[in-house]
């Protein structure tokens, strides 16, 4: 057991060792400096020429967002129709059907917004074609969209006073060609050599040793798995995601995938420091995120390796920890670590079933998604953290007797209003919709949807409540993992989570960029001894306190009725 814990520590340290130079590299890429990957230049020039893009054209925050939203809208329409009619298109060796409109709506949005909530099962819900040209494609470009948005924020922070947040198209393309593609190729190759399938052959039929006939799903999975982890997408090729022995064949691939989950989100924090020449700020942000991250990991590893007390009562030997929903080759510690990594980063891939986590760990992963800013999804994690910073700046500015300012720009009513709205938004979406679902379960259990509300929940009582809470929290965080027991492939869940996904994705991108646009336009105020330094650890603690307090106050009753009540009922 202790070696398993050591294993998780090694994985984490290794991630940081890789993330630091990657952050430096990304800063160079977006600064247009010389890098190792300059051989991509001709390819990028070709892309720009074909698409009619002038990568040097500057954009203000409104133009930037317009470009971003236009292409996202296009992708949504494209993805929806492809999924709807996938059965009529080629490359469908398993003969899978087209998606229903509500499922296609949900799936298209889900992958567009980098969430990858899957209300279908990968083996039967998609064709090879849609796995590639819808799912894999969106996994790349949605991640690139997040990174591009973050670079816009970087630009606002970098300049004293500016209107120019950079060129969206340029960042979108470069995020793909310089970061996502090269890294995905490396990860995919590692997976392929460890046994993850890459061929386009369909299901295989075999007779087992015992003499049963079974069919084995396969397919070109390795490439998609690589980008799903690196791009914090999380949508698996197979239904059980990275718990599947073909998606995640051994402990080593598990380590690689865990690193892939955390790598870019952490590297982007370092990139912030390099790009705007404020490494201390990046360090403080990294420290705050890591502080909570490590606490969450410690809690989950402790509870998962300790095992389920209810199983203990049955009298068996639970030396490996709580193994329900987990794989032997990965073990409880690595699965617990993954559960925090995937919820911190809005990734959402799983290597064990979260529904079967012990109550505290289950609560922690929900909480982690409620915060949604501990490293966070590629690009958007820091954007979310930025909102917390604005609120922390405001309150602490008042506490030291100075009109609040961040990086030399005064934070005033308009910025506070936007930040407050975003804070409000998650509470509203998560709690509002969970309440609606709970209402349906209690008051209209027999409505004739594809899955009746009375059949939604796979578990009774508190845990059933957690399933609903988890689903909306995951949707709002664009995470995509689930307490998968929930019967969610029906019009209610498909549509409601679709709405939450859209709002939970785009408003938290629009808002920080709007704030940044407004701030960057203001007169720059140089630092004086009276200025509260935002790159101090004191301010880091302040941000931490704000994160904890806001989250706790917004969600304590919900968590109390779900995981906390469940905890007290079995311990």
């Amino acid at each position: 057991m202790s070696t398993e814990i050591l294993g998780t520590i090694i994985i984490f340290l290794f991630t940081m060792m890789l993330a630091y130079p990657l952050g430096k590299y990304m800063a160079k890429v977006f600064n247009g400096e010389k890098t190792l990957t300059d051989f991509m230049n001709p390819l990028e020039r070709l892309i720009f020429r074909i698409s009619g893009i002038n990568p040097k054209e500057s954009m203000n925050w409104k133009q930037f967002l317009k470009a971003m939203l236009t292409i996202n809208m296009l992708w949504l329409v494209y993805a929806f129709f492809m999924l709807l009619f996938q059965d009529k298109l080629p490359l469908n060796p398993d003969g899978n059907p087209g998606q229903t409109p509500d499922l296609a709506f949900n799936t298209a949005i889900s992958f567009l917004v980098n969430c990858n909530l899957q209300h279908y099962s990968g083996e039967s819900g998609l064709t090879y074609l849609t796995q590639l040209i819808v799912i894999t494609f969106l996994q790349f470009v949605s991640a690139a969209t997040g990174i591009a948005a973050l670079v816009a924020l970087f630009n606002g922070l970098k300049e004293k006073t500016t209107n120019n947040l950079g060129n969206f198209w340029n960042y979108l393309v470069k995020s793909t060609t310089r970061i996502l593609l090269p890294l995905s190729i490396v990860v995919a190759a590692i997976l392929a050599f460890n046994g993850t399938p890459t061929s386009y052959d369909g299901k295989d039929s075999i007779v087992t040793l015992q003499g049963d006939s079974v069919q084995v799903s396969r397919g070109p999975a390795a490439g998609m798995i690589a980008i799903k982890q690196l791009g914090t997408n999380g949508g698996g090729w197979f239904g059980v995601n990275s718990a599947h022995p073909l998606e995640n064949p051994n402990y080593f691939t598990n380590a690689v995938e865990t690193i892939a989950i955390l790598l870019i989100p952490i590297a982007l924090v370092f990139a912030l420091g390099f790009y705007i020449h404020r490494r201390k700020l990046a360090k403080v942000i990294f420290a705050v995120m890591t502080f909570l991250f490590v606490i969450f990991c410690t809690i989950n590893i402790y509870y998962e390796t300790k095992g389920n007390p209810a199983i203990d009562k049955l009298g068996v030997a639970q030396n490996m920890g709580s193994m329900e929903g987990k794989e032997v080759r990965l073990g409880a510690a690595a699965t617990a670590f993954w559960s925090v990594a995937t919820t911190s980063t809005s990734n959402g891939s799983v290597n064990g079933m979260h529904d079967s986590l012990t109550p505290v760990s289950g609560g922690v992963v929900i909480l982690d998604m409620m915060i949604n800013a501990l490293y966070g999804g590629v690009g958007v994690g820091l954007l979310n953290y930025f909102i917390f910073i604005i609120i922390a700046v405001f309150i602490s500015g008042l506490m030291v007797g100075r009109t609040p300012e961040f990086m030399g720009h005064k934070v005033e009513a308009r910025e506070v209003k936007i930040a407050a709205l975003i804070t409000l938004l998650s509470a509203f979406l998560i709690k509002g919709f969970t309440a609606l679902a709970a209402y349906m379960v209690i008051h209209h259990p027999e409505i004739g949807w594809a899955v009746k509300p009375s059949a939604w929940l796979n578990n009774p009582s508190y845990h059933g409540f957690s399933e609903m809470l988890y689903e909306y929290t995951s949707s709002n965080a664009n995470n995509g993992s689930g307490f998968e027991g929930l019967g969610d492939n029906n019009i209610f869940w498909n549509v409601s989570t679709g709405i939450v996904l859209l709002l939970g994705r785009f408003l938290p991108i629009i808002a920080p960029l709007a704030i940044m646009g407004l701030l960057a336009n203001k007169k720059f105020i140089p630092e004086s001894p009276g200025t509260l330094r935002t790159d101090s650890y004191t301010f880091g603690v302040m941000t931490l306190v704000i994160i904890i307090i806001i989250t706790a106050l917004s969600y304590l009753p919900a968590l109390g009725l779900g995981p906390i009540a469940e905890y007290f009922s079995i311990y």
């Binding site: 309440a435 105020i525 140089p526 004086s528 004191t538 009725l561």
Partner: protein, 693 residues
């Protein structure tokens, strides 16, 4: 900060009475809606009233016991009243402060000059001051109370301004120049002046200030608006929390009473800061007023807290008035006694402060030494001819009856005179002159019959304690800049000794302006103080411009604050008042929100204990019963408001220990304290309730 001149007791009985009365008047929803947090509490109160009434009529018991609902209603009602009371008390105090100033000038008889024909005749009619209009002229003579703010157009007078400033020494005001302004309510001690009314009735600065504290015209400052938005957002979050709790509770099969919902909601929303917010703002204005500063807007006070650069005039702020003689240095072969004698003689008719200080120093030196004072002051000056200082000669002095010419002046002037007469300049004197200049002093050379006899050293006297004040400002992050007409060498020396960060030497009025612009263009906020008409543009340009009450009307119009004391160091106080205002808001917000943690632990287990016994473990305060837990939380929530009124009105102290250290300190006291305090408070109330329930 210096002792307040007029202090009102925190809970002065008369004011408290008015405030209580006002608390009820402010219940009017149309007024309450300006404060969204408390407005929602008022709605909750109304709902509880309806619930209680419904229950009393129908006897329905699904919503809990009647006494319980009525109790909740009463506590909520008191919560609203407490918040109103805080605001009303702050207003009452501010008003009382302003009123005491205003009383002095209401219904003062004014001798108005009435126009006859083409000019002003000497005809005056006595009218009530309130009838005076902008542009009217009136006469004031010794013994009169000046009826209205205005500008002297003719005459000079000594005026007792103690009614406004508290300073008993009379001041001189005269037509023309920078000291032409008079304030209503002050008293003429001598002479006669004609004054032109410069403000319309009801629009004097004092009137504006009164309006500001009264709340009628009180506009929220930008920071206050931003904070209100944030608090509204928190309130909305808790609305979501409470509304969604209903289906959650249904799912958990737990009936929750309306009273419990509203209690939870009221406890969670930031009522503490919501209830005290406007009181804090008014108290900030009040503190400014008490420091004898009239702010033209709340924003000005707030901006003062953000000041990065402070422009201060050397004279009067950094140094005491003018230069003073500090030493006599006779040339070789001249006795000390003799040199003092001729120095004193040379200054006998010199009425400048420098001249007077030479006599003073001479007197004290001689008194110290021996009996020779007889020689000095019994000298026969009859027939002596005094020579006034002229710009041409740059020297002054006396020609005695016997023809001895004693001259005193700048080194250059005297040297020229000496050299022309064929005499040499003593080397030791020349050396001394350089030394004095290098030390920031001014050398005055004395010659008798074109022969240099020695040099007198004049030095600026730095105000005692000024270094500490600048040190404090530096710690606040405020850069101090000294503005002086001195040459750069002298300016540098004084700047060093006084500890200012920068100086503008040989300053012309436009230099100030340029300096301000330059600092502002790099994003800094600049404050300055000024009194003269030529200061007006700079006062207007500065982010915080404090004009002296004695200053010209133009200067007063240009600035956004007026210092009634004419005290140049007042800026430092103003900066602290501004900071205090923000800090008080910030810390109480933190405190208020931190309180919620404990309230959750009190109320959430209480709500669900019946159906989810497991949640008993969350009842870490071990409160007696669900009813008692909820009541304790609501009561704590209510009484914390009046308990914090003193803090809100006095303000949280500002400590210049650096921003990060200050944040740590306040976070510890108000953040951590805000988490711990309600745990203790709620537990205590619960124990107390246990006696009755």
């Amino acid at each position: 900060m210096k002792q307040r001149k007029r202090s009102i007791k925190l809970f002065d009985p008369a004011l408290t009475g008015t405030a209580i009365q006002q608390s009820f008047i402010k219940l009017n929803p149309a007024l309450m809606i300006k404060n969204p947090v408390m407005f929602t509490v008022e709605i909750g109160t109304a709902v509880m009233l309806v619930v209680s009434a419904w229950q009393a009529v129908t006897g329905d018991t699904t919503q809990g016991a009647l006494w319980y609902n009525i109790t909740i209603f009463a506590i909520l009602f008191i919560t609203v009243l407490f918040a109103n009371f805080a605001e009303a008390l702050a207003e009452a105090r501010g008003k009382a402060q302003a009123e005491s100033l205003r009383k002095t000038r209401e219904d003062t008889p004014a001798k108005k000059i009435t126009a006859t024909g083409n000019g002003f005749s000497k005809e005056t009619t006595v009218v009530a001051s309130s009838t005076l209009k902008l542009g009217d002229h009136f006469v004031c003579e010794a013994g009169d109370i000046i009826p209205m703010d205005g500008e002297i157009v003719k005459g000079i007078a000594t005026i007792d301004e103690s009614a406004i400033t508290g300073e008993s020494a009379p001041v001189i005001r005269e037509a023309g120049g920078d000291k032409s302004s008079v304030t209503g309510g002050t008293k003429i001690l001598s002479d006669r002046i004609i004054v032109k009314v410069t403000t319309a009735p009801g629009e004097s600065f004092l009137d504006k200030m009164i309006a500001l504290v009264e709340g009628a015209s009180r506009q929220k400052t930008p920071n206050e608006i931003a904070l209100t938005i944030l608090l509204a957002a928190f309130t909305l979050i808790f609305i979501i929390v409470c509304v969604t709790l209903k289906p959650f509770a249904d799912y958990a099969n737990t009936p929750i009473t309306i009273a419990a919902f509203i209690s939870l909601f009221v406890c969670l929303i930031p009522t503490t800061i919501g209830g005290l917010l406007s009181a804090i703002g008014i108290a900030g204005m009040d503190r400014a007023l008490r420091a004898n500063v009239i702010a033209k807007s709340g924003k000005a006070v707030e901006t003062a807290g953000d000041i990065d650069v402070l422009l201060l005039d050397k004279t009067g702020t950094i140094t005491i008035g003018n230069r003073k003689a500090t030493n006599f240095y006779p040339a070789n072969g001249v006795s000390n006694k003799e040199f003092i004698r001729i120095s004193a003689l040379s200054s006998m008719s010199d009425d400048t402060p420098e001249g007077k200080s030479i006599i003073e120093l001479a007197k004290s030196n001689i008194e110290k030494s021996d009996t020779s004072k007889v020689i000095l002051f019994s000298e026969d000056l009859s027939g002596a001819r005094f020579i006034k200082f002229t710009a041409e000669t740059r020297s002054s002095g006396v020609t005695m009856a016997n023809g001895t010419r004693i001259r005193k002046g700048a080194f250059d002037a005297i040297r020229n005179m000496t050299v022309k007469a064929g005499n040499t300049v003593p080397a030791e004197t020349e050396e001394k002159v350089k030394l004095i200049a290098g030390n920031g002093g001014t050398p005055l050379v004395v010659a008798v019959d074109d022969e240099i006899k020695g040099v007198i050293e004049l030095q600026d006297i730095i105000k005692p304690g000024i270094q500490e004040r600048f040190e404090r400002l530096r710690k606040m992050g405020v850069k101090t800049v000294m503005v002086t007409g001195d040459n750069p060498l002298t300016a540098k020396y004084i700047a060093n000794v006084a500890g200012v960060d920068d100086f503008i030497a040989e300053a012309k009025p436009e230099d100030k302006m340029n300096y301000i612009r330059q600092e502002q263009s790099s994003g800094k906020l600049v404050a300055m103080m000024g009194d003269g008409t030529n200061d007006a543009p700079a006062l207007a340009q500065a982010d915080v411009g404090v004009s002296m009450n004695s200053g010209t009307q133009a200067a007063k119009e240009a600035g956004n604050m007026i210092d009634l004391d004419n005290d140049p160091t007042k800026l430092i106080e103003v900066v602290e008042i501004g900071k205090q205002l923000l800090i008080t808001r910030g810390t109480l917000t933190t405190f208020s929100i931190a309180n919620d943690v404990a309230k959750y632990f009190a109320i959430v287990p209480a709500l669900f204990i019946a159906s989810i016994p497991a949640l008993q473990s969350l009842n870490i305060m071990n409160l007696k019963s669900p009813e008692s837990a909820i009541l304790s939380a609501v009561i704590f929530n209510a009484i914390i408001i009046p308990m914090l009124i003193p803090l809100a009105l006095k303000g949280v102290a500002y400590k210049p220990i650096g921003a990060s250290a200050l944040l740590r300190r306040n976070l510890l006291i108000y953040g951590l304290g805000g988490i711990i305090a309600p745990f203790i408070g709620i537990k205590l109330i619960d124990m107390l309730l246990g006696v009755f329930m």
